[in-house]
Structure formats: structure tokens, C-alpha cells
């Protein structure tokens, strides 16, 4: 479960004192001090070294959707806590806390909009919501996004970011893998495009269902992608993992991805792919979108 990992590089207390967090940010890869506004305009990609920092879910909506075209759907779905699950904490309290911190009520935003003028159905996962874990609501919202795509004969795009299953929903969370894959079976049958975009991190049940099933699997550079989390593997094989293991570049090399795409050209790549699949004219060059304010 990758959402329990701590980020590799953390600002030291001393650094933090020098850096008013609301104005400056330090790139964890190259160490450059970046003006936060500039970073945001660059979709949270370091302008110096192109390191991809996490982008919140609505950032991806803004990145991919033509301005003003996105309509969110099913924002009123919430977990029913079907097992009345309590560990050291009650699941319903975890949910409430996650909802308070988040701009959305669950770990995925879904809706409809246009991508470079192509009408699409889209889902974007939010790692900030209980580690982007997949429970009944994530599965249902994505299934509905798929059904809308089927009904309107539109492509489906899913941007994944997930630590895996929502354990607190037990078997229901496992069954979401089957549910989302069943929608994709129907997309296949209908001959409709499905583009999977994998962002850091995508592991567990999400990888082992829709994230790996794209007609094109695209990943951002450096993205952690795997079935088992790195710690689980280390514990099983009792040795350290090689450098770069389970990173997007490793998966590309091993044939699991079609392309590694810089976030700043993601929209263009998806547009080009969809236009091939739908036999539409190639895209005209377009300027990059302007990033919105983060939530």
C-alpha cells in the first residue's frame, strides 16, 4: 500500500524556516528553489529538471479538458461503509476526515467534457483521498463514466493514482476490480477507445484492473507502477530492490506501457491518439492550457 510511504525527500526543518511554504517550493529532485506560482503554471513540473511533482485531481481536469467544457457527474456518491469497519479508527471517521480535507467526496472525480474538441468521458483519481484507494464509490463512479461513454459512443479516459484497494470495504473493494474491468469489456466490444494515464503512484488493485487495460497505457516520467508495493516485495524476497524498479521507465522497458509522456504534452498526445482511433483529422497545434488555482 504505497500511500503509507513517506516521500523520499523532505524539507529539513532548517530549510523550511527559510522557505515560506506558500510562496516557494524546493524541487525534491534537483533542489532548485521554485516560485510556487511559476511551478503551478508549469503543471507542477520542475522547470529546471522536469521532475514531475504530484498534481491534484482537478489539476488534471484542467490539464486535459478544453476550458469551460467539463461537467462533473455523480459528485453526490459517498461510501456507505458497508462493513461498518472499525480498526484503530472507525472507517466513517477516516472518510469524514478525508472529505473535510478534500475538494471532493471520494477518491475519484468523473464527468464529461471535450478534449481538444473531442467529447469524452473522464475519471481522475485523487491520491489525497485515503491514498486514492478503490472502494465501492470509486468503482461505481468509474463504471458510470464507462456506461456514459458506451451510451454516447465516446472515448473514456482514466487518470489513475492509487495505493490499491480500500481495505475497509473488504470484499467490495476487491469486486470493484471486476466491475471496472466488466465495463472495459463492453468498451472493447463496442470498439470505443479507452486511454489509461498512470500517475505517481499507481499500485495494487487499480493497476491490476483498469490502469493496465488501456488501448494506450501512458505514464508520466518516474511514476511508481506495480502490482505489489515495493515494501511487500522486499519483505517477501528479503532483499533490496534494484534502483528504478517499478518506475515508469522500467515498465516501458518491460513492455507494460506504450509511452512515457511529459505531463505538459499529455493533452496533445491523448488528442493525437484519439484522433487516430476515431479516424478524425490530426490536431492543429494548440497552446498549453493555463493552470488553475489549486484547491
Amino acid at each position: 500500500m504505497a500511500w503509507f510511504r513517506k516521500p523520499k525527500t523532505r524539507l529539513q526543518a532548517a530549510d523550511r524556516r527559510d522557505l515560506p511554504g506558500d510562496v516557494w517550493e524546493k524541487c525534491p529532485a534537483c533542489g532548485d528553489i521554485l516560485y510556487r506560482e511559476k511551478l503551478k503554471e508549469n503543471w507542477n513540473v520542475c522547470p529546471t529538471c522536469a521532475h514531475h511533482m504530484r498534481l491534484p485531481a482537478n489539476g488534471y481536469v484542467a490539464l486535459l479538458m478544453d476550458e469551460g467544457t467539463f461537467r462533473e457527474r455523480d459528485r453526490d456518491l459517498r461510501s456507505a461503509d458497508p462493513l461498518k469497519f472499525v480498526d484503530l479508527k472507525a472507517y466513517k471517521d477516516r472518510l469524514a476526515a478525508a472529505e473535510r480535507k478534500s475538494a471532493h467526496g471520494e477518491a475519484v472525480i468523473t464527468g464529461e467534457g471535450k478534449l481538444d474538441e473531442i467529447p469524452v468521458s473522464i475519471g481522475v483519481m485523487d491520491f489525497a483521498f485515503i491514498g486514492g484507494s478503490m472502494g465501492s464509490v470509486v468503482g461505481e463512479k468509474l463504471a458510470r463514466a464507462g456506461l456514459r461513454a458506451l451510451e454516447k459512443e465516446q472515448p473514456l479516459i482514466i487518470v489513475s493514482a492509487s495505493g490499491g484497494a480500500r481495505m475497509m470495504e473488504g470484499i467490495f473493494s476487491l469486486m470493484q476490480m471486476a466491475k471496472t474491468s466488466a465495463v472495459l469489456a463492453q468498451m472493447d466490444e463496442a470498439g470505443l477507445p479507452y486511454i489509461s494515464i498512470l500517475t505517481d503512484p499507481t499500485t495494487g488493485g487499480v493497476t491490476a484492473s483498469y490502469a493496465m487495460l488501456g488501448d494506450a497505457n501512458l505514464a508520466e516520467p518516474g511514476t511508481l507502477i506495480g502490482f505489489a508495493g515495493p515494501r511487500v516485495i522486499e519483505q517477501t524476497i528479503k532483499q533490496e530492490l534494484p534502483e528504478g524498479f517499478q518506475r515508469a521507465e522500467f515498465l516501458l522497458e518491460h513492455g507494460m506501457l506504450d509511452r512515457i509522456v511529459d505531463r505538459r504534452s499529455m493533452k496533445r498526445e491523448v488528442s493525437r491518439l484519439l484522433r487516430h482511433m476515431l479516424a478524425l483529422p490530426a490536431p492543429e497545434d494548440f497552446a498549453l492550457n493555463v493552470a488553475p488555482d489549486a484547491p
Partner: protein
């Protein structure tokens, strides 16, 4: 049955079984008549088994599901089917012995049977990888499913795995992709399918051969998104809280039936499947014949539409006033 193992809560049962054994030996060696003593001990044994197994806690069921004497896939292939001819290999990398499959006959009717296979001893477990498949195991399974589809034969899968193997080679060769593809392909398969959890249903590694028209579980089998130990380690920060995790996650066959995730619980003999393989296999065979009989009547399109509907309905959520 190579080892005579028993679980903690089976100790009392094992003791009475020992007593019965001793008595029989004594009677044989000395020519004594012990009929009445035997009868009373056997009644005691029966009562003890009934009592113990009726009141198993979830974590005890997990232990029974993992019992080293529990029948495995190849045992059921011998007990329930005839004319089994094993097919090997994924045609891409290698043969994964933790998944077995091939043609077999159920009451004379050819079906494709695929299951995970655990080993009985250390040597066999090295071969079977403790029933934890690599991607090539899932790819072999998919190849056989497609073969069943080609020849319009029903598919039976037997689930018994702690989970898909978490290792370097497994990740390199696309464990996630192999599982994902099976989920999608099974959802759209053009032949009837019945999946049965016969022991451990370990997460995605189990589901990868478990998307079917009917999903059944043996009474003492378990099915969960993560092992109770794994869940306890993460959420309780202590693997020893597995008992709580097993309760909270609702892992037993009875739980899953109650949650409407599976279609039927197949009863096991008193004392668990490991106490009487034949009786267990007989119940399982009855259930398989019944479900396959029903599914055979359905046209392919209706079958697939029903399967999609079944899986699209999985999960529970609520609707709130949008903010």
C-alpha cells in the same frame, strides 16, 4: 495425505481420534471386544467435531481454509472429474505449476477446469510456489479459457491461493497486466463459467480466475481483499491482530453470501473438508452440476448480459445532497 497435522482447536478432536486408534489396535492385538467402548468414543468424537466446527471463529476458518490436509485442485480433479488431461504452458514464457488446468469430464461432459495448486510438502511447494502464481500462470489460465470458448465448453475454476506472487520477476513480466486482462476477458467470455473458492481466496490473485457467472464457496473457505495478517499489519500496525482483521473484513463464506457477493455456500462435512474428502467432493460436484445445468439453458448473449449486470451491481454506496 503426507502429514498428519491438526490445528490448535482440533487438539481435543485429535486426542479422541488417537484414543480410538489405540483401542482398535488393542482389540486387534489381544482379540478383545471393544464395540461398546468404540461406539461411545465415536459418539464423543462426532459431538466434539460438531461442536468445534459449528462455532468456528473467522480466524479459525482461515486456518481451516489453509489446512495442510485440505483437498487441493488436483485432488478434486481426481475425486469429481474423469478423463482429466492436463495442458501446460502460457506459450510465452514458461509453465507455471501453481496453476493447473486442462480438459476433464463432469458426468461425461467435457469441461475446462483451471485451478491454483498448492503443494503438500516443502519439495512440492517449491514447485507450486505455495499456490502463488506468476503472470505466466494467469496467462496459461487465460489461454485455456479461450480454448474453452473456442470449443464452446463450460469453464470451471477452483480458487485456492494466498495471492499472486509479489516478486521481481512477477513485476517485470506484468503481474498487474496479467490479472487485469483476465478480469476483462472473463467478464466477456462467451461460455458459461462457475468459480469455486475451495480454500484461500487471496485478493486479486484469486479474482484473476474468479470472474464467473456463478461464484460458490466451500463452507470453510475464505475470500478477502488482503490477508487478515496483511490487513492487521497495515491498519492495526500489528500482524498479531489478525483475528480482529478477519472479523472486520468479513472473510468467511457465510459473510460473503450475506453480503450478496457470492451465489452459494457449499456445506462441508462435520470436521471440515480435510476430514472427509469424498463427502466434500460429492457436495461440490452436485452444486457444479446444478449451476452448469442452469447456465447451459441460457443463450450466449443473455449469459453475458447477466454476467455484466451481476458485476456492475457490485458494491454499496449512498447518495448525499451535493455540496
Amino acid at each position: 495425505m503426507a502429514t498428519v497435522a491438526h490445528l490448535d482447536f482440533e487438539r481435543a478432536i485429535a486426542e479422541v481420534e488417537d484414543q480410538i486408534g489405540h483401542l482398535r489396535t488393542l482389540a486387534r492385538e489381544r482379540g478383545l471386544d471393544v464395540t461398546s467402548e468404540l461406539r461411545s468414543l465415536e459418539r464423543k468424537l462426532h459431538d466434539l467435531k460438531t461442536d468445534t466446527f459449528r462455532n468456528l471463529s473467522p480466524i479459525e476458518r482461515v486456518q481451516v481454509a489453509r489446512h495442510p490436509r485440505r483437498p487441493y485442485t488436483l485432488d478434486y480433479l481426481q475425486l469429481m472429474f474423469s478423463d482429466f488431461i492436463e495442458l501446460a504452458g502460457d506459450r510465452q514464457f514458461r509453465d507455471d505449476a501453481s496453476v493447473v488446468g486442462g480438459w476433464a469430464r463432469l458426468e461425461g461432459e467435457p469441461v475446462m477446469v483451471i485451478g491454483q495448486q498448492k503443494g503438500r510438502d516443502m519439495k512440492e511447494n517449491l514447485l507450486r510456489n505455495f499456490g502463488m502464481p506468476h503472470p505466466e500462470g494467469y496467462r496459461k489460465a487465460l489461454r485455456l479459457m479461450k480454448l474453452a470458448e473456442k470449443f464452446r465448453r463450460p469453464l470451471v475454476t477452483l480458487i485456492d491461493t494466498p495471492g499472486a506472487y509479489p516478486g521481481i520477476g512477477a513485476e517485470e513480466r506484468g503481474q498487474a497486466e496479467a490479472i487485469a486482462r483476465n478480469l476483462r476477458e472473463m467478464a466477456g467470455l462467451k461460455v458459461p463459467s462457475v468459480a469455486v473458492v475451495i480454500g484461500e481466496g487471496g485478493s486479486g490473485g484469486a479474482l484473476a480466475i474468479g470472474v464467473a457467472d456463478r461464484v460458490l464457496m466451500l463452507e470453510n473457505s475464505v475470500y478477502s481483499v488482503i490477508s487478515p495478517e496483511g490487513c492487521a499489519a497495515i491498519l492495526w500496525k500489528s500482524g498479531s491482530e489478525r483475528e480482529k482483521a478477519a472479523v472486520a473484513m468479513r472473510v468467511t463464506a457465510g459473510d460473503l453470501k450475506e453480503l450478496n457477493v457470492i451465489d452459494e455456500v457449499i456445506p462441508e462435512p462435520t470436521g471440515g473438508a480435510h476430514s472427509d474428502w469424498e463427502v466434500t467432493a460429492h457436495s461440490l460436484k452436485d452444486a457444479l452440476l446444478r449451476h452448469l445445468g442452469e447456465l447451459r439453458e441460457m443463450p450466449v448473449d443473455a449469459l453475458r448480459a447477466a454476467r455484466w449486470k451481476k458485476y456492475m451491481a457490485m458494491g454499496e454506496w449512498r447518495t448525499v445532497q451535493a455540496r
